[in-house]
C-alpha cells in the first residue's frame, strides 16, 4: 500500500511536469522558431516545473527521500532552477536583444514581462543568500527565503499564465495551479512550525 502511494505520488509529479513539456513540444509555433529561441522557451517551462519540485522536496512530501536527502536535493534543484532561468533569459536575449532589454528595464509593452523579471531577481537573491545561510541564522534565513519564494512562485506563475507561446493552455494552467498550491501548503506548514518553535513548544514534526 505504501509502495502504491509512493509510486502514485512520483507518477503524478512526473506527469505534472512532463505533460506540459510534451504538449509544448508538439506546438506548431516551434516550426517558426530558431533552436536558441526553442531552447530558451523550454528552459522557462523546466524552471516552472522545478518550482513545483522545490517545496515538495524541502517539506519531505516526496516518498523515498529522507529529510536530509530531500534538503540536499532541494539545494541542487535550486541550482538547476537558477541555471534554467539564466538559459531562458540568455536565449531570449540572443533571439531578440531589444525585447529582452525592454523586459529587464521594465519598459516592455508585454504585461507578463515584469512578473518574470521580478521572479528572476528573487531567484538570484535566494541563491546569493543561500551562500551566507549559516551566517544568517536559521530563523532569518527561513523568513528571507520564504518571502523571496513567495515572489518567485507568484511572479513565475503569473508570468507563465500571461505568456502566449508554445505551452498548451490546460496543462500550463494545471502546472501553475500545482506550483501555487504546493508553495502555499508548504509555507503554511513551515510557518505553523516556526510559530510553535518560537513559543518554546516542541515542533509538531521532525
Amino acid at each position: 500500500m505504501r509502495l502504491a502511494k509512493a509510486t502514485l505520488i512520483w507518477a503524478a509529479l512526473a506527469a505534472a511536469i512532463c505533460v506540459p513539456i510534451a504538449a509544448a513540444a508538439t506546438s506548431p509555433l516551434l516550426a517558426w522558431r530558431g533552436p536558441v529561441y526553442i531552447l530558451a522557451g523550454f528552459a522557462g517551462i523546466i524552471a516552472l516545473g522545478l518550482t513545483l519540485v522545490q517545496p515538495l522536496l524541502i517539506a519531505g512530501y516526496l516518498p523515498g527521500l529522507s529529510a536530509y536527502r530531500g534538503r540536499r536535493v532541494h539545494h541542487w534543484t535550486g541550482g538547476a532552477l537558477l541555471v534554467a532561468v539564466v538559459v531562458h533569459v540568455g536565449g531570449l536575449w540572443i533571439t531578440s536583444p531589444p525585447d529582452m532589454i525592454d523586459a529587464l528595464l521594465f519598459a516592455s509593452p508585454t504585461p507578463f514581462s515584469p512578473f518574470g523579471v521580478i521572479a528572476m531577481w528573487a531567484i538570484f537573491a535566494v541563491a546569493l543568500l543561500a551562500l551566507f545561510r549559516r551566517r544568517l541564522g536559521l530563523r532569518t534565513w527561513r523568513i528571507a527565503h520564504m518571502s523571496l519564494a513567495v515572489v518567485v512562485v507568484a511572479g513565475g506563475v503569473v508570468h507563465a499564465m500571461l505568456v502566449e507561446g508554445p505551452m498548451e493552455t490546460i496543462s500550463k494552467a494545471a502546472l501553475c495551479a500545482l506550483v501555487f498550491g504546493a508553495a502555499i501548503k508548504v509555507m503554511a506548514d513551515l510557518a505553523r512550525r516556526m510559530r510553535a518553535t518560537s513559543r518554546g513548544e516542541s515542533p509538531v514534526r521532525q
Binding site: 509555433l29 517558426w32 530558431g34 531570449l92 533571439t95 531578440s96 531589444p98 525585447d99 525592454d102 519598459a107 516592455s108 509593452p109 508585454t110 507578463f112 514581462s113 500571461l162 505568456v163 502566449e164 507561446g165
Partner: protein, 162 residues
C-alpha cells in the same frame, strides 16, 4: 470611408479620452483643439531596420496589415505616406530583412500590405509599423492581435509636423 478599430492599446494611448462606440468610423476627438497625435508605443521600434523597400507584398502573403494615416488637429487624410511594416511571421523572424517591407497610403490616407501570417513572438502575436519619413514626427506602433488566429491587423497613425 475610413474604418477605425479601437483596441485596448489605442484606448489607453488616448488616455481613455476616446469612447468606443462600436460605430465603425466614428472616432470622436476628445478635445476641441482637434485630433491628438499618436504616440509611439513601448517596444514599437524593436528590430526596426531603416529603409525597408516599398514592396507589392512581403513574402508569400496571406495576412493583411492595414490602417490609416491622418494629420493631427484637423484629421485630414495624408496621401503618399510611406509606412514600414515588420513582424515575426511564418517566413522569418522580426529582425530578418525578408520580414520587412513598406507601402504608401492612397488618396484617402489608407494603406494595406499583404504579408505572411504573424505568429506569437515574445509572448504576444503582434506587428510593428513605423512612419519615419521626416516630414512628420516619427511614430513606431506595435499593435497586438486579439487572437493569434487572426488573418489581419490594423494600426492607425495621427501625425504631427516634425
Amino acid at each position: 470611408m475610413t474604418t477605425v478599430v479601437l483596441n485596448r492599446r489605442n484606448l489607453l494611448a488616448a488616455g481613455g479620452s476616446i469612447l468606443a462606440t462600436g460605430v465603425s468610423g466614428l472616432l470622436l476627438p476628445a478635445r476641441a483643439q482637434g485630433l491628438a497625435p499618436t504616440d509611439s508605443m513601448a517596444g514599437g521600434a524593436n528590430n526596426y531596420r531603416k529603409g525597408a523597400p516599398i514592396v507589392e507584398r512581403i513574402g508569400k502573403g496571406g495576412f493583411w496589415m492595414s490602417g490609416t494615416v491622418r494629420r493631427a488637429g484637423d484629421g485630414a487624410p495624408l496621401a503618399g505616406q510611406r509606412i514600414q511594416i515588420w513582424a515575426h511571421t511564418t517566413e522569418g523572424q522580426e529582425h530578418e530583412p525578408q520580414s520587412h517591407g513598406a507601402t504608401l497610403t492612397d488618396k484617402n490616407g489608407s494603406f494595406r500590405l499583404e504579408m505572411p501570417q504573424i505568429i506569437p513572438i515574445f509572448g504576444q502575436p503582434h506587428g510593428h509599423l513605423a512612419y519615419d519619413s521626416g516630414e512628420f514626427k516619427t511614430v513606431f506602433l506595435r499593435p497586438v492581435m486579439p487572437s493569434a488566429k487572426d488573418k489581419s491587423l490594423e494600426a492607425h497613425f495621427v501625425l504631427q509636423p516634425a
